[in-house]
């Protein structure tokens, strides 16, 4: 079997598993759980095989198009991986194993439906990252909403119905605009570049934009700005960026553990992935124009999320706000619009998925033992559950960016890129802004360390305190092998990324360079335009320094 077919099987396997759970349900819940685990493990195994063939950059070997739907030959069932999507694809397969394992005992109501929805969700996420065709991307993108809606709404905690509806409505409203925006690009291409033929292939669209750049056929800046706003609406809600984030803490708090893990780990990345995959290559001029604004929004999100997180005493809520903060770094990296930043931003997506996904899993385990998520009711738990505390500390350190773990690599690259960008800013008047953004972003790191370490200190150290001795008076048991199995792979990958980031960065290099090349043109034009303006301004020493270099 060639790699492309293998990839297709990998995507469809969870779907088949979800269907298979229907007959399996008759055999009882044990059989359902084991089947679900077997399917996710098989999917993970296949993913590893695909990446084995793929690594480091055999894009062609994974790309394949099958004739799909109608409208002539334009819409294809095109799948393939590249450096931008490969690790997110792998992360989806990995986190789903964790999600299945953490639900093992937590879910005892309507079990077959629960696992069927989880597997459908996995199929959707794998499909999004493998999609090479715009329609296919959108189909999978929206498809992820339905299973998660039910996961939150049926198995969530007390306020679940409101949370589920809010989540669904927010994201759907945004993504419809995104879809219209993406379609407009397709029609623009049909009208102006290729002479009337429609194509929905993402790569061909990007190539067309490149080809038309600088010619009269290119999209006008105004048109690009409108489309950018449309795309931004969907992706920014998904990420979520600062003023649009209100659905996130609610959804996280109400979702069952597996839902939180997957929501934080994968679904939020659909937004930032969408920015890298669509906004940058397809709308370079608008991206360049809007980048400083988005950077501001991102950095406000970083600080806002961090400050709100500091004030939380619900564990899930705290981590949810930390997500808002951390995803700001992804966006910061992506919209720094230089190779370092793109690499850092993309890697940070994976990092955040690992650490926050892991943290949500841990909070779920804590809740199973102590039946509370209130930090004020917990203290000194490291004595009772030392293994849990160990993993908590590892994931926390990864989250705050300790050197040697994955978070450091991502944040360092992002901040480096941001500083680089700030001192080379070609847009007159924006230089100071970017410098301010860079500096504020560094404060975000400090705040991040503060609230996360404080959380660990309050919950796991100090005098022992918990509400009435766990569920049945006896001290709760420490992590079971099943739970360690759910967490250990995440920790291993964290260390792996931390000590050998190049293994993960290498495949990203090629495709991200292409993305960067797309936005480089407006950047270069901006630089040229700046020259006369810059001559008139009194130059600061630092600017001279960068110029000289």
């Amino acid at each position: 079997m060639d790699t492309a077919t293998l990839l297709l099987v990998t995507i469809l396997l969870p779907l088949a598993g979800a269907v298979a759970l229907w007959p399996v349900a008759a055999l009882g819940t044990r059989a359902v759980r084991w089947t679900a685990l077997a399917v996710t493990l098989a999917t993970l195994l296949l993913t590893v095989l695909v990446i084995w063939d793929f690594y480091p950059d055999h894009v062609a070997s994974t790309e394949r198009e099958w004739t799909w739907l109608g409208a002539g030959e334009q819409i294809q069932f095109g799948i393939g991986l590249d450096g931008i999507s490969v690790w997110l694809f792998a992360l989806s397969a990995l986190l789903m194993v964790t999600a299945v394992l953490v639900s093992w005992e937590a879910i005892d109501d309507q079990v077959p439906q629960f696992y069927a929805l989880l597997l459908l969700l996995e199929c959707g996420c794998l499909g999004v990252f493998a999609a090479r065709d715009l329609i296919m991307f959108y189909v999978f993108f929206e498809f992820t909403l339905i299973p998660l809606y039910f996961l939150i709404g049926i198995w969530g905690s007390e306020d679940r119905k409101y949370a589920a509806s809010k989540f669904f409505l927010f994201t759907l409203a945004g993504s419809l605009l995104t879809f219209l925006g993406l379609l407009s690009i397709v029609w623009w291409k049909a009208a102006y570049v290729a002479g009337g033929e429609l194509t929905f292939s993402i790569a061909e669209l990007a190539a067309a934009v490149q080809q038309a750049a600088g010619t009269p056929r290119a999209m006008s800046p105004g048109f690009q700005a409108v489309l950018f706003a449309a795309l931004f609406a969907g992706f920014a809600i998904k990420v979520p960026l600062f003023p649009l984030h209100t659905w996130l803490p609610l959804a996280h708090v109400q979702a069952p553990t597996a839902g939180s893990v997957f929501l934080a780990g994968i679904l939020l990345k659909l937004g930032s992935y969408g920015f890298v995959r669509f906004c940058l290559p397809l709308l370079p001029d608008a991206t360049y124009l809007f980048a400083p604004w988005i950077l501001w929004i991102a950095v406000i999100g970083i600080l806002y999320g961090a400050l709100i997180a500091l004030a939380q005493h619900d564990l899930k809520r705290l981590i949810a706000y930390s997500s808002v903060s951390h995803l700001g770094y992804c966006l910061l990296g992506v919209f720094a619009l230089n190779p370092l930043g793109l690499q850092g931003g993309t890697l940070q997506m994976v990092n955040h998925g690992l650490s926050t996904g892991g943290l949500f899993a841990l909070v779920g385990m804590l809740y199973e033992r102590y039946h509370t998520r209130d930090i004020q009711q917990l203290s000194g738990l490291a004595r009772q559950v030392p293994r849990l505390a160990f993993f908590m500390l590892v994931f926390t350190l990864s989250s705050i960016g300790l050197p040697g773990l994955n978070g450091f690599v991502g944040e360092f690259l992002v901040l480096l890129a941001m500083f680089q960008r700030a001192w080379q800013e070609p847009l007159p008047g924006w230089g100071l802004h970017l410098k301010a953004i860079s500096v504020l972003a560094v404060f975000g790191v400090v705040l991040g360390a503060w609230y996360m370490l404080w959380l660990v200190q309050r919950v796991f150290f100090g005098p022992l305190k918990h509400p009435s001795g766990g569920h049945d008076g006896a001290p709760p048991r420490d992590l079971a092998p099943r739970e360690i199995l759910a967490l250990a792979p995440l920790a291993v990958v964290m260390v792996w990324i931390g000590v050998a980031p190049n293994f993960f960065l290498r495949p990203m290099d090629g495709p991200l360079r292409e993305v960067e090349a797309a936005v480089a043109r407006p950047l270069q034009e901006g630089l040229q335009n700046r020259e006369p303006v810059a001559e008139k301004r009194p130059q600061t020493g630092l600017e001279n320094l960068t110029r000289a270099r």
Partner: protein, 582 residues
């Protein structure tokens, strides 16, 4: 023209050249092309006659009806849509009706729907053996009218077919005898219907007086000649007439502001009738809207005369076949009045009609979605959802009209987008109403609140219902997405090629409406899956391994799976639209 010539023309038209008066009709003759409708007529007669005999009363009329419809579906020959070159456009019965791909497509949809609908009524047991004959007669009578609507080529036929489809529907709305709501529904429906029909007839007579013809293709030609030199009062009359005709169509489409009957009728009538009115009636009305819109806004090459072999007919097509009722049979030799491009002359008409329908579509869609939000009865909710969907489907028509001038090929694609939507909508709405009917049979309630916690009682049904509701929103990967995509693509194409901004506004309205519509569909899903079960509900069983369950699965599967393979629908719809404008 001598009388015997007219008679001979009529004979040729009706049954073809070959074989003289008594020979078998040729396959391009009016009779042959009208065969599906004739089969339906025969079925109706058979159903009525069979009950005269004692043995005929021993079995359910369902079997006669369903066999008749299946036979009619078979003689419709839907596979000819996919044939090379498409279905030729033949004007049958001296131009009163037209036979083309669109006719075949709509007939297929209507008859296939009727077969499914009949099976549904048999399973849900709405007409018992006593009533069966009456009700199925009404249903088949309405279907006959709808088939005629889809193939109307003449404003008189437009009016007659609308009436033919409506009158049985009025009776169907009052199907539940002795129920106040049902009687109220029937009364409202018929009063509204009569009013709308009157206005429409007035519009038709104004139009006939103005352009000297009511034969739709001739009307386009006439209008193209008259419009450039038309005096303002005449223009006013034309606009008025157009609007009045629209009133009749809007009533059938349940477009705002002629939608008032729809929720009341759906609430008062059984869910099965709701399914019938919301799918078949809408499909036929949309087809008719397309026909009228093309007739008023485009110049269509004349169709082939009936009764002659295709190649010979193509030659005689140039010699305009005089329709008996088509008054304008003398075309001016010089086209100087029209100018160099007769299509351009119709531009004001297109602009007017396009904007009118666009506004109607936007209002209908938005109103339907907003009003559905507050409903507590599932049938009323589905009624408003039907109104909203009529709006979505109407959105393809402004694109068609705008493109009809310079880009007939793309205009046909717009029609095919509409065709795809109709085909998919059939499964979604029939499924939704069928499940509502099964639930009603199971626990005697149609209130949304009583659906609480159904997921625990009958998970299979709820999963199917949820899939259908999400599909009605248009969420991928369910089939409703394909329909919305096809219509929106048509609008986008229209904007790209004609630069008409109102198409973009329609597109945006469609997008926003999709988001709004999620609210109320989601609410139903939420009640079914997330609310706790009411302890007072009568215990019931609705297993998937029953007739009802199997029917639900069969009707839901297309909704789930069509995303994988919908090219055949696309091809059929393209085949259906192929000779509409070229």
């Amino acid at each position: 023209m001598e009388l015997h010539e007219i008679v001979s023309d009529l004979i040729i038209d009706t049954k073809g050249l070959a074989g003289g008066l008594l020979g078998a009709p040729t396959n391009t003759s009016s009779i042959a092309l009208f065969l599906p409708e004739l089969v339906v007529c025969a079925t109706i007669l058979l159903m009525l006659l069979v009950r005269l005999f004692r043995w005929g009363r021993t079995f359910h009329s369902f079997y006669v009806a369903v066999l008749g419809c299946a036979l009619a579906l078979a003689v419709t020959q839907p596979q000819q849509l996919l044939a090379e070159g498409g279905v030729p456009r033949i004007e049958i019965f001296t131009g009163m009706l037209v036979f083309d791909g669109f006719t075949v497509f709509l007939r297929t949809i209507l008859l296939a729907f009727t077969v499914l609908f009949l099976i549904l009524t048999k399973i849900s047991g709405i007409p018992d053996r006593e009533d069966g004959g009456d009700i199925y007669t009404l249903v088949l009578g309405a279907v006959l009218g709808m088939c005629l609507m889809a193939s109307s080529n003449h404003l008189l036929m437009v009016f007659m077919s609308i009436e033919m489809a409506s009158v049985p529907s009025y009776a169907l709305a009052g199907l539940l005898k002795g129920r106040r709501l049902g009687s109220e529904a029937a009364l409202k429906y018929s009063v509204y219907g009569a009013g709308a029909a009157g206005v429409m007839l007035y519009g038709i007579s104004l139009l006939a007086g103005l352009v000297n013809t009511v034969h739709l293709p001739t009307m386009g030609v006439e209008l193209a000649q008259r419009l450039p030199t038309m005096a303002p009062p005449e223009y006013m009359v034309l606009a008025l007439a157009g609007m009045m005709v629209m009133v009749g169509l809007a009533f059938k489409l349940s477009a705002v502001p002629f939608h008032f009957w729809c929720p009341d009728v759906f609430e008062g009538a059984p869910a099965e009738v709701g399914a019938f009115l919301s799918v078949a009636s809408k499909a036929a009305a949309l087809a008719l809207l397309v026909r009228v819109a093309i007739g008023l806004s485009a110049i269509v090459p004349p169709g082939l005369p009936a009764g002659q072999p295709i190649d010979q007919a193509a030659q005689t097509a140039a010699r305009d076949l005089p329709g008996l009722f088509a008054v304008a049979d003398e075309k001016p030799a010089d086209n100087s009045a029209i100018g160099a491009d007769p299509r351009a002359a119709l531009q004001p008409m297109r602009s007017l009609l396009g904007k009118l329908i666009a506004v109607l579509a936007i209002i209908t869609c938005t109103f339907g979605n907003l009003a559905a939000y507050g409903q507590t009865n599932i049938k009323r909710l589905l009624a408003y959802s039907t109104i909203a969907h009529a709006g979505y489907m109407m959105m393809a028509v402004p694109a068609l009209i705008a493109l009809a001038g310079q880009h007939p090929q793309q205009a046909q694609n717009a029609v095919s987008g509409l065709g795809i939507y109709i085909a998919l909508y059939l499964f979604m709405n029939l499924g939704a109403f069928a499940i509502v009917a099964f639930f009603r049979n199971a626990f005697r309630s149609e209130e949304i609140a009583d659906y609480a916690g159904l997921i625990r009682r009958c998970p299979g049904m709820v999963i199917c219902f949820a899939a259908i509701l999400f599909s009605l929103v248009g969420l991928p990967p369910l089939s409703g997405f394909i329909g919305k995509f096809a219509v929106f693509a048509a609008l986008m194409d229209g904007f790209r090629l004609t630069g008409e901004t109102y198409l973009l506004i329609v597109l945006l309205a469609g997008g926003i409406n999709t988001a709004i519509s999620l609210f109320y569909y989601l609410r139903v899903v939420k009640v079914m899956t997330m609310e706790p079960e009411s302890p007072t509900r009568v215990p019931f069983a609705l297993p998937m391994l029953s007739a009802a369950g199997m029917f639900t699965i069969a009707i839901t599967l297309p909704t789930l799976l069509l995303i994988l393979w919908w090219n055949w629908i696309n091809e059929s719809a393209l085949g259906a639209a192929r000779h509409l404008l070229t």
